[in-house]
C-alpha cells in the first residue's frame, strides 16, 4: 500500500496529516476479494467502512427476481459504506468485486472507539465525510431533476 497516495486521494482521509493517517490505519484490517465475490449484501446490517486499495467494485441495487442493476462503479481509494456508518440502516445496495480487490476494512465499533479517544482525527474525518456527502447530494439532485424532467 502506498500511504502517500492514500493520503492524497482517499476521500475519507483527505484532511488528515501523515501521523493521523498512520494512527487511523492501525484500526483497519487489510483484506482481499476475488473478482465476482459479493463484498456487501443488500439488506445487511453491518456498518463497517471499506476503502478500496486496488481493483474495482460494482454498486448494484435489486430489481427483483434476484437480479441486480449496476448503478455505479468504484475503484482505487474510493470509500464504501460511510452512509451506514453514520445512520443505522440496512445496506441499500450490493457491492460486488468486478476485479480482484484489496481493501482496508474499518470495523464500525473499533472506529467509534478510536474516534472517542482521538477527537481531532474524528473531526477531520467527519468534515471529509460531510464534503463527500455534499458532492453525493448534488449528484443525486442533478440525477433526479434530469430523470423527472424526462419522465414528465
Amino acid at each position: 500500500m502506498n500511504r502517500d497516495d492514500l493520503h492524497h486521494t482517499a476521500t475519507l482521509f483527505r484532511k488528515l496529516d501523515q501521523e493521523q493517517l498512520g494512527a487511523l490505519i492501525q484500526v483497519a484490517r487489510e483484506t482481499s476479494y476475488k473478482s465476482d465475490t459479493v463484498i456487501m449484501r443488500y439488506g445487511d446490517r453491518d456498518r463497517d467502512i471499506i476503502v478500496i486499495l486496488e481493483g474495482a467494485v460494482s454498486v448494484e441495487i435489486p430489481t427483483g427476481d434476484n437480479q441486480y442493476l449496476q448503478v455505479a462503479r468504484l475503484g482505487q481509494y474510493e470509500t464504501i459504506g460511510e452512509m451506514n456508518f453514520i445512520l443505522p440502516l440496512r445496506r441499500t445496495a450490493q457491492i460486488k468485486a468486478i476485479q480482484d480487490v484489496s481493501c482496508l476494512v474499518f470495523d464500525y465499533y473499533g472506529l467509534c472507539d478510536f474516534f472517542r479517544k482521538n477527537p481531532e482525527i474524528a473531526l477531520k474525518v467527519f468534515e471529509a465525510i460531510n464534503v463527500s456527502m455534499v458532492e453525493k447530494l448534488g449528484r443525486s439532485i442533478d440525477h433526479l431533476v434530469e430523470t423527472s424532467s424526462v419522465a414528465g
Partner: protein, 150 residues
Amino acid sequence: MNLFTRQRDNDLLKYLNNDEAVLIKEIASEVNLPPGTTIFNSGDRIHDIYIVRSGTVALSELSPSGKRIELGVVFPDELLCAENFIAPVSAMYTAVTASHVSLMKIPHKHFRSVLKANLSLNVKIQAALNDSLAEKTIRITQMLTKDNRT
C-alpha cells in the same frame, strides 16, 4: 454513529450539552416569514445555516426545460443550507416557505469562530451535519429509485 447521545430535537444542536448549545444560540437570530416567501433561489451564494423552528419549507429545482421538480419538504428542527455551509457550492435548490415559518439563522463567520475554539463542540456539530446530510441524500435517492421504477 454511536458516539454521542441526542440531547435535544434541533438537528444541528442535538448532540450538544446545555452549555455548548448556549454558545450557538448566542450568535443565532430569529427570522419570521409568511407563506410563499422565497428564502433563497437555486444558484444563490449562501453561507449561513438555518434551522426551521416552526412551519415547513418546500424545496424544488427547475429542470433545463423549465419544469419545476419538487425535492421535498423541510420540517421543524431540520436544517437548511447545511451543504452550503460545508462546501463552497451555490444553492442546489430553491427554498420557499409553505406556511408561516420561523427560522433560526446562524451566521457562518461567527459559527466558524465558535467551532474553531471548541473541539468537542465542533466534533458534535460535524457528526450532526453527517446525520442531516445522510438523511437528505437518502430521501433524494428514494425519490430517484421510485422515479426509476414507475
